[in-house]
Symmetry: C2
């Protein structure tokens, strides 16, 4: 009956080690890149080819580490970066990671575009 709800850690509760771990996974790092470019997106757009349970796994990990905010929208769910929260907690961190990821063509920077 109750509509889907999601738990999000408070800003003070966000731990840097967990954030770094969340961003250290290529799939998740690419998701974060998309979120930074596109704003709030439908979760399915973050991994159209992934099994749903795998997608849920990664989005949940990003949410529980404090990187993203998840919101139920009808039967799908919308995801956006917690950019301001992250910047308040760890100033500049997200920006430098994303800038660094841009210049890292060794991982998967542009071969798939």
């Amino acid at each position: 009956m109750p509509p889907r709800t999601y738990h999000h850690p408070d800003v003070e509760e966000i731990a840097i080690a967990r954030v770094l771990f969340a961003l250290s996974e290529p799939l998740r790092l690419n998701m974060v890149k998309m979120l930074a470019e596109q704003g709030e997106v439908d979760s399915i757009d973050l991994g159209p080819d992934l099994p749903r349970s795998t997608l849920t796994h990664h989005t949940s990990l990003l949410r529980e580490s404090g990187v993203v905010f998840v919101r139920a929208e009808g039967r799908k769910c919308m995801i956006k970066l917690r950019g301001e929260d992250l910047d308040a907690r760890f100033p500049g961190l997200l920006g430098t990671v994303l800038t660094g990821y841009e210049s890292d063509d060794g991982d998967r920077g542009e071969a798939n575009v």
Copy 2:
């Protein structure tokens, strides 16, 4: 006979996902913090209470991910941050991580000082 040598990735080879993973481990993150504060240090100082093989495991991972430079000094080994290399590859990343770690007392920020 040959003195101990260590392989270090070139600057261009340093991958951001691997760096973030290396920094996502509390033990290793604390080692990096010490290195940032103290410059080049004896490896033993990074984990006096750790089993040697465990210490080697973590220092090797930091070295292979491009975070630290390791040098044999007699029978011990000296370790220092590759600060300039990291900054050339991913500008500002290390600084923001260290700054963020400083303000993160939830992990182990100051309870042990």
